[in-house]
Symmetry: C3
Subunit: 211 residues, 3 copies
């Protein structure tokens, strides 16, 4: 059975997310099995939280390919470890494809649930699907989640959700809506990183809070 | 539709919990979206874990008001950031109201489940509803959970659960039971902070444990 | 009602896992309630994640004995705190018994679910049941998860899962299969620690990754 175009994009996203988890775990001196676990958690963590919240079977329990792609990512890092820096831009593109696609997948899975959720729930589930894996990764390697401090990341998923909603009002063709939504995530993130666009931080905050 | 008195208390609790998450995230240099996410996680995290354990739809997927109150908390922190220290006592009271109310909400939601749980499960769910949000907050900002080290916090929720149980044996009126339980949480926490009452720590522990 | 032999092993495992959580939390200056919570989370965390993923009621909501054994572990640490180092080898054996038994319990619970999962899911659930509690413990005490960096740990659970599968093909008697699987976990871990066998780490990784 040939994988569809969307399947291929999903594998690319899984691969890229797993790579980012494996690389960061390795820098923290995790062994290869630990790095593999962090890679898996990065790749499937967001979708797992979404599925638990929606009370549906976690997607990766149905198909082993997500663990297989994470394993391929592990071997890839082991073999090409010295040459990965040169591929940073490629990984960034892959990672952003994954972010965009996972967001759309999260939105659509929410809309297809028997429970009829309002659309803001779908937007949140899209953002969780896209961005929560990176948060779990950073918790596992004991770092402050990167995505909340640097260039726009999770907000790109929310923007993709809004574009999905707008697209639904205008177009009859669901594929067009999907492309608009995914493209808006992709471009938001691309522009944010290219021009170092981050959100403002709340500065001048008092320094002696006692919880 | 007018919100009930309990609704209003719940909004106050959500607001106060979100404020604490947003302030601590801001001190760790999270951007405003990251601070908002930490604020939301602090406010709804405990109830979400409770609902996942009880296998029921997470409460905040049904009503958008929890995200709205967290957003109001975000704007509040941004606007009044320089003046928040002076409000510390007010926030503490709000936070303690939230703790007390969330505990009671957690107990009652557990008792109303179709599965008939023993009462100790309800006590634990009350404590998780009240205290787990703060633990999630501290994990996200990469700090050791504060509530396990300083003045009595999670234990106040357990005490509230015990008072709920005792109240149930004595009074017919559920509202009286709720008030007794919430008041016991509130007063335990208030007294603990006012007099710096903490639980004992296990000292003199060996220093070369290898897990 | 007399507890069965497997019940007794499960209590030993719960006790040993709780001890490890309580000791590490105490070293981080948690108060006794916080240490108790970390002990519980270490003992029941893996099985809870498994049950959430399998969409079944968390096992410890049905029987209070897991919280009771964690409380016994707490009193044990408080009373014998100065003498625990001498018991390190005993704890290690207990911990390894727990790891082996929890793995088998996780595999069998997965196979008994109404949803018919492929066996690789059972292997993963066995590993999660055995090893995820230790990861949750390390997240709560704000340390990089130990099990991903030192002697073989989670991989021992996977090996136990493979032996379970092989045993199923050869033997008709389920008890023999259980013993083979548990023994393979136990021996793998024992040998790994005795001879300091760890998995390789991915070294020479570039040092300027930007996520």
């Amino acid at each position: 059975m040939m994988p569809s175009f969307v399947d291929i994009l999903e594998y690319i996203g899984t691969f890229a997310f797993a790579i980012s988890g494996i690389r960061l775990a390795s820098r923290k001196d995790f062994d290869i099995f630990g790095a593999y676990v962090v890679g898996i958690a990065t790749a499937i963590g967001g979708g797992t939280i979404r599925d638990l919240l929606l009370d549906t079977t976690p997607f990766w329990l149905m198909k082993s390919c997500y663990l297989v792609w994470s394993a391929i990512a592990l071997f890839f890092v082991i073999i090409f470890k010295k040459h990965l820096i040169r591929l940073n831009n490629t990984f960034f593109i892959f990672d952003t494809i994954g972010l965009a696609l996972f967001t759309v997948v999260g939105i659509e899975k929410t809309m297809m649930m028997e429970t009829h959720y309002p659309f803001w729930v779908a937007i949140i589930m899209g953002a969780i699907t896209g961005a929560a894996g990176g948060v779990i990764r950073d918790i596992l390697i004991n770092e402050i989640p990167l995505i909340f401090r640097k260039e726009i990341y999770a907000l790109a998923c929310v923007i993709g959700g809004l574009f999905y909603y707008i697209g639904l009002q205008i177009f009859d063709n669901l594929i067009i809506v999907q492309i608009i939504s995914a493209a808006s995530v992709f471009l938001t993130r691309l522009i944010a990183v290219a021009f170092h666009v981050g959100l403002p931080h709340i500065k001048n905050l008092e320094h002696d809070i006692k919880s």
